[in-house]
Symmetry: C2
């Protein structure tokens, strides 16, 4: 999906909501567990319920890999089920030497039809470059993450600026705002103004709203740009809004609540 198509989808739905499919068999409604493929059945119901309000779905690959081959199958079925006009993210945090990153790009952009993949920046340019070579596909590189561990390295100072600032500045030179986004955690609201000075036009994928406590209002106020430039992710707060037979309608209500709030922030 191109930047233009993504912006159109956001404008048309008045939403920049990404729903995170961190689907854990231990947390989904019990009645689904007797189905032949409970993970996919759950995801299908969540997608059907939330697709009017979401412009993106983020599949957290760890939860699927934890289920082995069945999990990988459920991931494939899920990404293939997502409507083509909704942006798809493999939240996989991959990155390795060039010939290996090329294989990851093949896995997620050719074998699976994801629009984008999250990428760890530690190993530098040749670990990111292979993800930038597919027209209409995106690398979403870790900038400043939402977790406590962000303090260990990302927020440390390196050659006059913090590591995450160096990462944003440096990585932005490897691609364009048409094939690169950055992950910035919603819990890092104090840094958003600064981040927009470094990368004014790039889209940001913002996890950490909901279960992790980030504020949608603050993010939207500090980080929205003239093309919106935000995909705000909620995972647990939407998909586990309820764990009875009403789970899908509860997820729909929660997704709609985010969309309604987002609508008020869109300029």
């Amino acid at each position: 999906m191109t930047r233009k198509q993504l912006i159109e989808a956001i404008r048309s739905k008045s939403s920049y909501l990404c729903v995170g499919l961190d689907t854990d068999p231990e947390r989904i409604p019990k009645q689904l567990l007797s189905s032949p493929d409970p993970i996919f059945e759950f995801n299908k119901a969540i997608i059907d319920a939330t697709r009017d309000f979401a412009v993106a779905y983020k599949i957290n690959t760890a939860f699927y890999e934890a289920q082995g081959i069945d999990g990988w199958k459920a991931m494939q079925k899920t990404v293939e089920y997502i409507p083509k006009d909704i942006f798809t993210i493999a939240d996989a945090k991959r990155g390795d030497i060039g010939n290996t990153s090329s294989q990851y790009a093949k896995a997620f952009f050719e074998k699976l039809p994801f629009d984008s993949i999250t990428v760890a920046p530690y190993m530098g340019s040749d670990s990111v470059q292979p993800f930038l070579e597919y027209p209409g596909k995106w690398a979403i590189v870790l900038g400043l993450t939402s977790n406590a561990g962000a303090a260990d390295f990302e927020l440390k100072t390196m050659e006059g600026s913090r590591l995450y600032e160096q990462v944003l500045k440096t990585v932005a030179e490897w691609g364009t705002d048409e094939n690169l986004m950055f992950v910035v955690g919603a819990t890092q609201a104090a840094e958003f103004k600064n981040i927009r000075k470094i990368i004014p036009t790039h889209f940001l994928l913002v996890p950490g709203v909901g279960a992790q406590g980030g504020s949608l209002k603050e993010i939207s106020e500090y980080a929205m740009n003239e093309d919106i430039g935000l995909l705000v992710n909620a995972s647990r707060a939407v998909i586990y809004a309820d764990n009875t037979t009403d789970f899908a309608s509860a997820a729909r209500k929660q997704a709609q609540a985010y969309q309604q709030e987002m609508k008020t922030y869109i300029r």
Copy 2:
């Protein structure tokens, strides 16, 4: 596998060779492609041919993911086929917020029987910790990698020392030399003495010998400690030593050549 068992295996085989199974259907001998599972058939032949000289096998997950569900199946069959007295590494470069890293640990340590997994340090302590909670299992954290991109961040200076040095120092405090190793590329020989000052007792996983040009002699001279403390990986140089019907015996010869050279360095 415990540290003690690993050291015993190294002493008993006079080898610290890790064979990297970066198995690419485009590079394996053509006659295997008609088998129902060419990747596993290739790996099985390579393992049978090299197991006398290798103390570890490293499965590069990217190459398996690039083949989709069939690849994940081949990975599972391969790791289950590797003899239990040989150390297994999922070269997966994973790492995410705590609840997600826990799922990756489950994927590679419970669903699959790997002894260890490579982990990216960027997201800090809670992204690494879940891998350290399994007795006899290991996190192998990226320190200084073998690729050109290492210059982009890893070798930059941060609060008085280079990023990779900060990573070694900081991450070493999160575990012990019984559950943590570090990746240091063979192409970084000039840094090995310095690395041993920071982490004198930890095992190092050293890729980059062979196709990437690192010197086994230099690594062994600068980085071996009294428990050997090294797993030196060769992937392409061993597994693609020949691509005719003789590929397995060519791989065996190449593995044996490394082992013979290693034997002369072991103190």
